[in-house]
């Protein structure tokens, strides 16, 4: 029966393969880097000479909620922002052309790992539009996930933000209901890639009300050596 033996020339395994040097995690292993906030942010990444490949996951930010401006004698409830899209990809080292710019998009803006892989943010509804924003999409990788669209703003509530594509986190949450003759800003989404809620304006005068900010973007980079 084949066994593992230790001795010259090294460690010999049952399949007759031989390991002659100690395993060194510093030179043969993986490196995990998570890029998140503040955004927008651009980071330069240089390809190491010994790189075998990278596994990249890009989760774009959520769209901002729709804003409202006073419309005389009427009520406007902004739509929710769409959830951010995401993309997952594996790239062998030799296929990576060289340095890449890692871009973390602000809420409503796309994110990317250079020219290799990108994802667009959820859409932000137009001012005084109660239609929720569409979800963002991924491109450039092998797997793509589309964010869920924001919900429609309809009295007496504001539109809710769409689900983000990050780990399918539930990003729709309860929204405030403004009293008559009041306006309310949308709520920011605390979750990665979730859409912000829409603003509301119920027969109120004064200035516009802003939609809530979409959830932040995040990029997870695994390097293999």
């Amino acid at each position: 029966m084949a066994t593992t033996s230790i001795g010259a020339p090294g460690v010999t395994f049952p399949d007759s393969s031989v390991q002659t040097v100690a395993f060194d995690i510093a030179s043969t292993g993986t490196k995990l880097t998570v890029y998140e906030g503040p955004s927008p942010q651009s980071v330069a990444w240089t390809k190491p000479a010994t790189l075998k490949g990278v596994h990249v996951r890009v989760y774009a930010s959520g769209g901002n909620g729709g804003s409202t401006s006073p419309v005389p004698n009427s009520s406007v409830f902004g739509g929710g922002g769409g959830g951010g899209g995401s993309s997952v990809g594996w790239f062998p080292g030799p296929s990576i052309p060289g340095p890449q710019t890692i871009t973390l998009g602000a809420p409503g803006s796309p994110s990317s790992f250079g020219t290799l892989i990108s994802a667009t943010a959820g859409a932000t509804p137009g001012n005084n539009s109660n239609v929720g924003g569409a979800g963002g999409v991924g491109s450039g990788g092998q797997f793509f996930f589309t964010g869920v669209a924001g919900t429609t703003g309809s009295g007496p509530t504001q539109g809710g933000g769409g689900y983000g594509s990050f780990m399918c986190v539930d990003t729709i949450f309860t929204v405030l209901t403004p009293a008559p003759n009041q306006r309310a800003a949308g709520s920011p989404n605390p979750n990665i890639s979730g859409g912000g809620t829409g603003a509301s304006n119920k027969n109120a005068g004064g200035g516009p009300a802003a939609g809530g900010s979409g959830g932040k973007s995040i990029i997870i980079l695994e390097e293999f050596y």
Partner: protein, 68 residues
């Protein structure tokens, strides 16, 4: 002149979504692509028409939102 990032995978009216507007081009993966645009273009409030390669305003209704 600003730059608009067009996302052909996201349909908008008869064309594509304007996913971002920025002062400069930043690297992104295909099929996303950049075009020049006017300074007043706002993302998600305009769409890209591939038939004439122009960026156009999305009509937005300002009708009152119906009460539930």
């Amino acid at each position: 002149m600003k730059k608009a990032l067009i996302s052909p995978q996201e349909k908008c009216l008869e064309g594509y979504r304007v996913a971002w507007v920025n002062n400069e081009e930043i690297p992104h993966a295909l099929p996303l692509f950049w075009v020049n645009c006017l300074d007043d273009v706002v993302q998600d409030q305009y769409w890209y028409d591939p038939s004439d390669e122009q960026i156009k305003l999305i009509p937005v209704s300002s009708e009152p939102t119906p009460e539930a």
